[in-house]
């Protein structure tokens, strides 16, 4: 049992096909549970009901970054060891990550309007998310522009590596450029200034739900991509015959 076995698409299809119904079920339980639980928490003494936006905003923002990291790892695995399913997974993850970024930005704007009095502020966190969205868009555009699938995987892999460095750099450069309005992290293991457990437990459930949602969508999209390649190969064979 290692990830190298799953470089074989048949093996990958068999295992992911077996796992997928369970994942769909877990997502269908976890995500609504977290959101409904989040909906029923008491209102914050200062922010009122708007605090409930957190249950969409925080998990989507977290996933937006984590999906990019996953794409980076998958690109590295492809570039180093020519793991075909890995390249497909990186490609399949990009639109999900872009949507997560948009969700984080939009819910952040909706949350920022009543609490900060502005839809948008050139705060480092907000700015770096906008830049992250640009990187996602560029990555997807590059994938769709190149016809040869192997070259496309190579080039987008290189772009992902360089982009990661620059996305990271932009984040800290933005701190230099403008001091922020956004609050710091309040989820931590250490005691002290952190979020109340009334909010944190539903939040963790939502995070888990978003994570499961991502894995489910990722597997479905990767399987679709493998099937598309199969049909393309079958068509090509038929044309030649």
């Amino acid at each position: 049992m290692s990830i190298w076995e799953y470089a074989n698409p048949v093996k990958f299809m068999r295992t992911s096909g077996a796992v997928l119904p369970w994942l769909v079920g877990a997502t269908a339980i976890c995500l609504p549970a977290g959101l409904i639980w989040g909906w029923s928490v008491p209102e914050d003494y200062k922010q009122g009901a708007t605090v409930k936006i957190m249950f969409l905003h925080v998990p989507s923002a977290m996933m937006a970054i984590n999906i990019w990291v996953m794409m980076l790892v998958a690109s590295l695995i492809w570039l180093i060891r020519r793991h075909h399913v890995s390249a497909l997974a990186a490609r399949a993850a990009a639109p999900i990550g872009a949507v997560m970024t948009v969700v984080a930005l939009v819910t952040g704007a909706v949350w920022g309007q009543p609490t900060w009095g502005t839809w948008w502020e050139w705060d480092p966190r907000l700015t770096s998310f906008l830049i992250l969205l640009l990187f996602y868009l560029g990555y997807m555009a590059l994938w769709s522009a190149i016809e040869n699938p192997d070259s496309a995987a190579d080039l987008t892999g290189v772009m992902c590596l360089v982009g990661s460095v620059f996305a990271f750099l932009s984040r800290y450069a933005a701190h230099f450029w403008n001091q922020g309005l956004h609050q710091g992290s309040t989820i931590s293991v250490a005691p002290g200034d952190r979020i109340s457990s009334v909010y944190s437990y539903p939040l963790y459930t939502c995070m888990l739900g978003f994570f499961l949602l991502f894995v489910t969508l990722l597997l479905i999209r990767t399987r679709t991509e493998i099937r598309r390649r199969r049909t393309a190969a079958l068509l090509a064979r038929e044309m030649r015959a």
Partner: protein
């Protein structure tokens, strides 16, 4: 390497090479901005550092597709790939040629455009220093973008989507140095960080760009 540099420079400066187009574009940007925001000197002086940097960025972007596209079309890129010079060196030389024909004229002409936009005279030195340190990074990052998109028919628009986000840190530190200079402060910190970014990109990006070129030539 020198021969390649001289060849590229010659191609760029001869007729049809587009030499000076970037500079003319920069001039047009600096002429259009006052029409857009109004002719008040105070406002212009306030936004001048940003306008000059964004103008330099866009002027640089304009000529990026020339770095590899022509050589790709007539096959000299294949020759370069089989030449004893490693691909990384070729990328570096190409980026240097691009910088000499686009970045360097901008650096030299920037004070004049600074006067057009009422940039305070104390900031002129910072502007030149920041552009001098920052534009090599723009050229080498641009060479990376051009290497990624060289095989594509309509790569120009895609390349700007890929390259402009990479310019963000350079822009932030470059414009910040000039802004601090314009406010009468000391711009050394952003300038040092800018130089750091430029040196790091010069060291690392040629490998990524050469890798992308090899994939495209495969």
């Amino acid at each position: 390497m020198l021969a390649l540099l001289i060849r590229d420079l010659r191609l760029a400066t001869r007729a049809g090479g587009g030499f000076g187009l970037g500079l003319a574009f920069f001039l047009i940007v600096c002429t259009l901005v006052p029409f857009g925001v109004g002719p008040e000197g105070g406002t212009l002086a306030l936004i001048a550092p940003g306008i000059l940097w964004v103008g330099a960025l866009l002027a640089c972007l304009l000529s990026l597709d020339r770095i590899f596209a022509l050589d790709w079309e007539d096959g000299s890129l294949d020759l370069l790939a089989t030449a004893p010079l490693p691909m990384e060196g070729a990328v570096l030389v190409k980026a240097a040629a691009h910088w000499i024909t686009t970045g360097l004229p901008l650096v030299v002409a920037a004070p004049v455009f600074g006067i057009l936009l009422h940039l305070p005279s104390g900031a002129q030195g910072w502007l030149v220093a920041a552009l001098l340190l920052g534009t090599p990074a723009l050229s080498i990052l641009g060479a990376f973008g051009a290497a990624l998109t060289v095989g594509l028919r309509r790569g120009g628009l895609l390349m700007s989507l890929l390259v402009l986000p990479l310019y963000v840190p350079t822009l932030i530190f470059g414009a910040e140095a000039v802004r601090r200079g314009a406010a009468g402060g000391d711009g050394t910190t952003p300038l040092v960080l800018l130089a750091g970014i430029t040196l790091a990109t010069l060291a690392a990006i040629p490998f990524a760009a050469a890798g992308a070129l090899r994939v495209n030539l495969r």
